[in-house]
C-alpha cells in the first residue's frame, strides 16, 4: 500500500525523547525503544497520505462551516469556588498550590 519512496525518515531515540518533552510525558529510559518502534510503525503506515494528490485543496479543520458563533454578552452565574477546588490535588485557601514556577520549564 505504501510507496517505499514515501517512507518517513527513521525516528531516533533522541526524536522520541524530544517529542516526550514537548508532550510533557516523563517516559522512562527503558520504554523509549518500544515507543520508538510503535511510532515508527504507525508513521510508516500514515506515509500513504503522501501518495494522495492534495494540490490546491483547502484544509478542512472541521465538518461544520460555522464561524464565530457569539453568545449574548450577559453575565452568567459562575460555579462556586468550593466546587471547583474540590478536585484539586493541592489547595491553599482559595488557591491552587503548585511547586515553584520561576526556574521551572527548563529541563
Amino acid at each position: 500500500m505504501n510507496d517505499p519512496n514515501n517512507q518517513p525518515a527513521p525516528l531516533t531515540i533522541d526524536d522520541v525523547r524530544h517529542v516526550a518533552k514537548l508532550a510533557r510525558l516523563a517516559v522512562p529510559q527503558e520504554r523509549l525503544a518500544a515507543l520508538q518502534h510503535d511510532l515508527q510503525a504507525i508513521l510508516g503506515h500514515i506515509a500513504q497520505l503522501q501518495s494522495v494528490n492534495t494540490d490546491g485543496l483547502e484544509p478542512m479543520a472541521h465538518p461544520l462551516t460555522l464561524t464565530n458563533r457569539l453568545g449574548d454578552d450577559v453575565p452568567q452565574p459562575s460555579m462556586p469556588i468550593a466546587d471547583l477546588l474540590r478536585n484539586a490535588p493541592a489547595v491553599q485557601g482559595d488557591f491552587l498550590a503548585v511547586p515553584k514556577v520561576l526556574g521551572g520549564e527548563s529541563s
Binding site: 516523563a26 515507543l35 511510532l39 503506515h45 500514515i46 485543496l57 483547502e58 478542512m60 511547586p99
Partner: protein, 485 residues
C-alpha cells in the same frame, strides 16, 4: 423482538409495572453479572431507587411525566455527571467528581430517565476492544473470552446483557457503532454537531459525537430526539431545528437508493459479507434501488484519522497536568513545574493514551505539521467530497460495521492491526455525517455464535430518513435474543 426501552417505558406508564420494579430488576441483573462482564465501573443503586420511587408517585398521582419516565439508562464514563465519579477509565481521573452535569444528562433526566451507572471504556475512548480500560477488561456477553469492541464497550455490554434499558456512548471513529456490532445491539452516531458535546470529555473535538446504544432503532430514535438540538454551552452544536424522528419512524421509507461501495467488500469475514448480502436482498424486496458507489479513499481514512484524532487529543489532553484536577505525582523527584506535569501525566495515562499523545505531538511539531497535519486536513476534504459524490447517487450507504465479529481477548497485540478494525467507521466522523450499526445475524463458525453488524451511513442531517430505513430493516430482521451469560 427483545424488550426495548420503549416497551419498558410504556409498561411503566400504563402501570403494568413500576419504575421501582424495573430499576430493582436491572440492579439485580447487574449484581448477578457485572463482576463477570465488567460493564459498569460504578452503579448508583440508592439514587436510582429513589428516582424510581419519585416517578412512581408522580404516575400514581396522575401527573404528566417525561417520555423517558422510569427507564434505567447507563452512561459511558467519559460523560460527566454530578453523581458518582467520571474517570474516563483512566487512573489520571480516578477520583474525579464533576461539579456539573453534561447537557445530555440534563436532557435525559428532564425527560424522566434514571441514571443507573457509569460504564467502562477504553481509556479516554482510545481503543476498539475495551482491553485498555484502567479498571480491567470488559467482556463480551456472547462469549466472555471475546472483546466487546470499543471504546463504548461497557455501554454496549450493558445493553446486550440487559443491564439497562439503553445506554449512551461516544463515537470519535466508530466507538459507538463497532461495539454495538460486536455485542449485537443498535449503535447510532448522529451527524457531527447534532448533540451537544458539553460535558463529554474531549478526545478529538472535530470528530466526537455522543449517541445512543440501544435494543432497537425506535429506542435510538427516541433518545436521539430527547438529546439533539442546539446548546448555548457548545458553540459547535448545529443551530438548526431537530425534525420529529419518532412519529415518522414507522412510515415506510419512500423510494430510496442503497449505495454499495466496492471498497467495502474486501478482507471481511464471510459471515460479515453474508450479513451485508442478506440486507441487500431485503432492501431489494422493499423496492429500493441498489447502486454501486465508489469510495476510493476508504483505506486512506485510517491514516487520515490517525493524524487528526491524535493531534486533537494531544491538545485536549494537555489539560490533565496534575494542577486543577486529576492525579498529581507524589514523587519527590518532581522539583519544578515541568517535572510535576511530566511525572503526573506519565503515572496517570496508560500506554495507548501516551502513544497517541506522542503521535499527535509529533504530527503537530515544527517541521512535520505540513507533511502530516495539514495534509490530513486536505485529505479530509477529499473524503467529504467523495461522500458528497456518492450521496448524489444514493440515499444510504450500506456495508459492514466491522470487518469481523468479536476477536479474542489478548488476541490482537499490534496497535496498527487494532486501528484497522475501524476501517468502515472512521470516515463517517472525518466527514461529519451520520451512521448506524444494526444487528444482522451471527457468525456461526466460532465456538459460540457471535453477533455481526451492518452499517448504514447517510448524509449530514439526514437522520429522519436513515432511522426510517433502519427501522424498516429491523422490523423484518426481528429479535436476536439475549446472550446466556
Amino acid at each position: 423482538m427483545n424488550i426495548d426501552l420503549v416497551q419498558v417505558r410504556d409498561d411503566i406508564r400504563t402501570r403494568k409495572t413500576t419504575a421501582r420494579a424495573t430499576v430493582d430488576q436491572t440492579l439485580a441483573r447487574i449484581a448477578h453479572s457485572n463482576s463477570q462482564l465488567n460493564a459498569y465501573h460504578e452503579v448508583f443503586d440508592d439514587q436510582a431507587r429513589a428516582d424510581a420511587d419519585r416517578i412512581d408517585l408522580e404516575i400514581a398521582a396522575g401527573k404528566s411525566v417525561g417520555v423517558l419516565a422510569g427507564v434505567p439508562i447507563a452512561i459511558k464514563d467519559n460523560i460527566v455527571t454530578r453523581i458518582g465519579h467520571t474517570t474516563c477509565s483512566s487512573r489520571i481521573l480516578e477520583n474525579y467528581r464533576s461539579p456539573f452535569d453534561a447537557t445530555v444528562i440534563n436532557r435525559l433526566t428532564q425527560a424522566g430517565a434514571i441514571i443507573v451507572g457509569k460504564t467502562n471504556l477504553d481509556e479516554f475512548a482510545m481503543g476498539s476492544s475495551c482491553e485498555k480500560c484502567a479498571w480491567g477488561v470488559v467482556r463480551n456477553p456472547w462469549d466472555i473470552n471475546r472483546v466487546p469492541g470499543g471504546s463504548s464497550g461497557g455501554s454496549a455490554v450493558a445493553v446486550a446483557a440487559n443491564l439497562c434499558a439503553a445506554a449512551l456512548g461516544s463515537d470519535t471513529g466508530g466507538s459507538i457503532r463497532q461495539p454495538a456490532a460486536l455485542c449485537g445491539v443498535v449503535g447510532f452516531k448522529p451527524t457531527y454537531g447534532r448533540i451537544s458535546r458539553y460535558g463529554l470529555v474531549a478526545f478529538g473535538s472535530s470528530l466526537d459525537q455522543i449517541g445512543p446504544i440501544t435494543h432497537s432503532v425506535r429506542d435510538a430514535a427516541l433518545l436521539y430526539q430527547c438529546m439533539a438540538g442546539d446548546d448555548p454551552h457548545d458553540s459547535t452544536c448545529a443551530p438548526r431545528a431537530v425534525e420529529d424522528v419518532v412519529t415518522t419512524l414507522e412510515e415506510t421509507p419512500r423510494a430510496f437508493r442503497v449505495g454499495l461501495p466496492v471498497q467495502y467488500r474486501k478482507g471481511n469475514s464471510p459471515s460479515v459479507d453474508a450479513a451485508v448480502a442478506r440486507a441487500v436482498e431485503f432492501f431489494k424486496a422493499m423496492g429500493a434501488t441498489i447502486v454501486d458507489v465508489d469510495l476510493p479513499l476508504t483505506d486512506v481514512g485510517i491514516s487520515t484519522y490517525y493524524v487528526i484524532a491524535p493531534a486533537e487529543a494531544s491538545s485536549n489532553l494537555a489539560r490533565f497536568d496534575g494542577i486543577r484536577y486529576g492525579h498529581r505525582t507524589k514523587s519527590t523527584a518532581a522539583k519544578d513545574l515541568f517535572d510535576l506535569y511530566a511525572q503526573s501525566r506519565a503515572e496517570g495515562f496508560g500506554p495507548e493514551v501516551q502513544r497517541r499523545i506522542m503521535l499527535g505531538t509529533y504530527v503537530l511539531s515544527a517541521g512535520y505539521y505540513d507533511a502530516y497535519y495539514r495534509r490530513a486536513l486536505q485529505i479530509r476534504r477529499l473524503i467529504k467530497q467523495e461522500f458528497d459524490t456518492a450521496f448524489a447517487k444514493c440515499d444510504v450507504i450500506l456495508g459492514p460495521t466491522s470487518p469481523t465479529a468479536a476477536f479474542s481477548i489478548g488476541g490482537m497485540t499490534d496497535p496498527l492491526a487494532m486501528y484497522m478494525c475501524d476501517v468502515y467507521t472512521v470516515n463517517t466522523n472525518i466527514a461529519g455525517i451520520c451512521g448506524i450499526s444494526l444487528p444482522a445475524g451471527f457468525d456461526e463458525t466460532s465456538q459460540m455464535p457471535l453477533p455481526v453488524g451492518i452499517q448504514l451511513q447517510a448524509q449530514a442531517f439526514a437522520e429522519p430518513m436513515l432511522l426510517k430505513v433502519a427501522r424498516a430493516y429491523e422490523r423484518v430482521q426481528g429479535g436476536r435474543g439475549y446472550p446466556t451469560v
